[in-house]
């Protein structure tokens, strides 16, 4: 019910983006996409590879201009990148020439936050992601999962009200991925429901979307093909994924991804009913 009164944070109106390929043909990476996301909502974008998820995020971040349509974030049209929107990129983006703590402070430093204050903030978020013991390390000394955590701490420390994460855990092992999902949800939820930031989370992993999202948007070749609310209460456990409504959503998602006959799904559904 609170989502009904929450102010709209992100609004896309008929957004399009095409690219010109090297051979001269045009590709429509994002095609006539419109949606509204209220403040504090956790939205997952799913869709097959190449369906335009990263392109959409880059436009929201202001790093890429739409060919057509309007993007409004926090009542301001997006004209370029800004610290009100943080991005955890699909590729590793941690600066190798800065120590971990300096990376986390980077955005704050850009905005002229005094040294002591920004160190305090950076330190807090490093602790949240469990990396306070490597604050003085060089990024080359960290593992892939640790680098992702640094990137997450960096955008959280920067204080943007909108956070975009592009397949942040895609390349991680099962255990690390689940740990980082918890870290992310804890950060998002740290000060209670009223202060949550708006999160857009891109993933290929249907289960990941189900356990994280308030809402799942499905994309296929540049189009938004579905928009599903996930009303299951939090915190969610592995058992939550077995609830009938979750299984129903999962079935829908798999259908969109062309995996109708995925083995074992029916068995899982039966188990949940039993």
């Amino acid at each position: 019910m609170s989502t009904n009164v929450a102010p709209r944070m992100i609004e896309l109106v008929h957004v399009e983006r095409s690219f010109r390929r090297a051979d001269g043909t045009d590709v429509k990476a994002v095609n006539d996409v419109s949606f509204v996301i209220p403040e504090g909502e956790f939205v997952c974008l799913v869709g097959p590879s190449g369906c335009g998820k990263s392109t959409l995020l880059q436009m929201l971040a202001g790093l890429l201009e739409p060919s057509d349509g309007d993007i409004v974030v926090g009542n301001k049209p997006v004209t370029g990148p800004g610290p009100d929107r943080g991005v955890v990129f699909q590729k590793d983006s941690v600066f190798p020439w800065m120590r971990v703590i300096d990376n986390v402070e980077y955005g704050l430093k850009c905005r002229g936050v005094p040294a002591a204050e920004r160190r305090e903030i950076a330190w807090t978020y490093l602790k949240h992601v469990g990396l306070s013991h490597v604050e003085r390390a060089w990024p080359r000394e960290l593992s892939g999962g640790m680098l992702k955590r640094v990137a997450i701490a960096t955008v959280f420390a920067n204080g943007g009200r909108v956070l975009m994460l592009d397949e942040p855990f895609g390349a991680l092992d099962y255990v690390t991925r689940h740990q980082l999902q918890d870290v992310l949800l804890n950060l998002w939820n740290a000060d209670g429901a009223g202060t949550r930031r708006t999160v857009i989370f891109v993933t290929h992993d249907v289960d990941e979307a189900l356990s994280l999202a308030d809402r799942i948007m499905v994309f296929r070749s540049g189009n938004k093909v579905d928009d599903i609310a996930v009303k299951v209460s939090r915190p969610r456990t592995t058992d939550s994924l077995l609830l009938p409504e979750m299984v129903e959503i999962k079935r829908k998602l798999l259908h969109h991804l062309g995996l109708d006959h995925a083995a074992g799904l029916d068995a899982v559904a039966d188990e949940a009913v039993a």
């Binding site: 202001g62 990148p81 610290p83 983006s93 980077y106 850009c110 905005r111």
Partner: protein, 286 residues
């Protein structure tokens, strides 16, 4: 431990090669006794180089510091020879260092300007690309006529030789900066100036290091070229002077000195930048 052992072994190999070359030279001086002019062998042995040749450097000592010059009627002496070499070396090194600072600074600034904005690219790219195509050595007489024996001309010549290399290296290095870092910095709120200071400059450092080492080689060549024609001092001047009288041993001694200086300058730049590259993986720090 293993790595340390290998480094030690590599050092011994280098030393062995060095000694072998010196020995071959000595053998050559014994079996090839042709003289350019009477009394001046084409290949001077080490016993000549470190006595007579070294002593002859006193000829280029201008006097002062209580050590009288040959021109003042004194005999050639080892103090005068040593002071003379030190003085002329210093002149050359000052020209090179000034040229490196001026040329490196301007080359870097112009190289960065190419990617700064569309306007600065248009302004800078074409003229500098044009300058790059001019052959450096062909410019020696031109610079001499423009500047005469003025030291500014020599420094500018060296700066020009180094600057075009640093420019090209900078443009290339900036192009190779992964766009993910630029996107990340912009998304975190960096202004363009901050972006260049905190992302572009550190990111191009490993590549710039090789560029500077490369330009240093050209720089040593350029400073000699500049001194050939204009200068009244410096190692290049000593070589020109020696050439007029076919003093091959003197020219060879200066060439040896050049090898030493060039090696030291390479080593110095490597050491200096290695400390700034603590962050990079070891493969980029070698």
């Amino acid at each position: 431990m293993k790595l340390g052992a290998r480094v030690v072994r590599d050092r011994w190999i280098s030393l062995g090669v060095f000694i072998a070359i010196a020995a071959i030279w000595q053998v050559l001086s014994v079996i090839y006794t042709v003289e350019a002019v009477p009394g001046e062998p084409m290949v001077a042995g080490w016993q000549v180089l470190f006595t007579k040749t070294f002593l002859s450097m006193a000829d280029y000592w201008a006097g002062g510091l209580g050590v009288p010059s040959v021109a003042e009627g004194a005999d050639r002496s080892y103090p005068a020879a040593a002071l003379s070499l030190a003085d002329h070396s210093l002149q050359t090194i000052i020209r090179l260092a000034s040229g490196l600072v001026v040329g490196g600074g301007i080359g870097l600034a112009l190289g960065l300007a190419v990617s700064w904005s569309r306007w600065t690219r248009r302004l800078v790219d074409l003229p500098v690309q044009f300058l790059r195509t001019l052959p450096l050595l062909a410019m020696v007489p031109l610079f001499q006529l423009w500047f005469g024996t003025n030291i500014a001309g020599e420094i500018l010549f060296v700066a020009y030789g180094i600057g075009v290399i640093v420019f090209a290296g900078t443009v290339n290095a900036v192009r190779n900066v992964p766009s993910i870092y630029i996107d990340n910095a912009r998304a975190l709120g960096a202004s363009r100036l901050t972006l260049y200071r905190t992302v572009i400059l550190p990111a191009i450092l490993p590549e710039m290091r090789s560029t500077v080492l490369l330009s240093l080689g050209t720089g040593w060549g350029a400073v000699l070229g500049a001194e050939y024609l204009g200068a009244q001092s410096g190692l290049g001047y000593v070589i020109v002077y020696a050439q007029q009288f076919a003093y091959l041993d003197r020219m060879f001694l200066i060439a040896l000195l050049f090898i030493v200086y060039t090696s030291i300058s390479y080593w110095g730049v490597s050491k200096l930048t290695a400390r700034m590259l603590d962050w990079a993986p070891p493969s980029q720090r070698l």
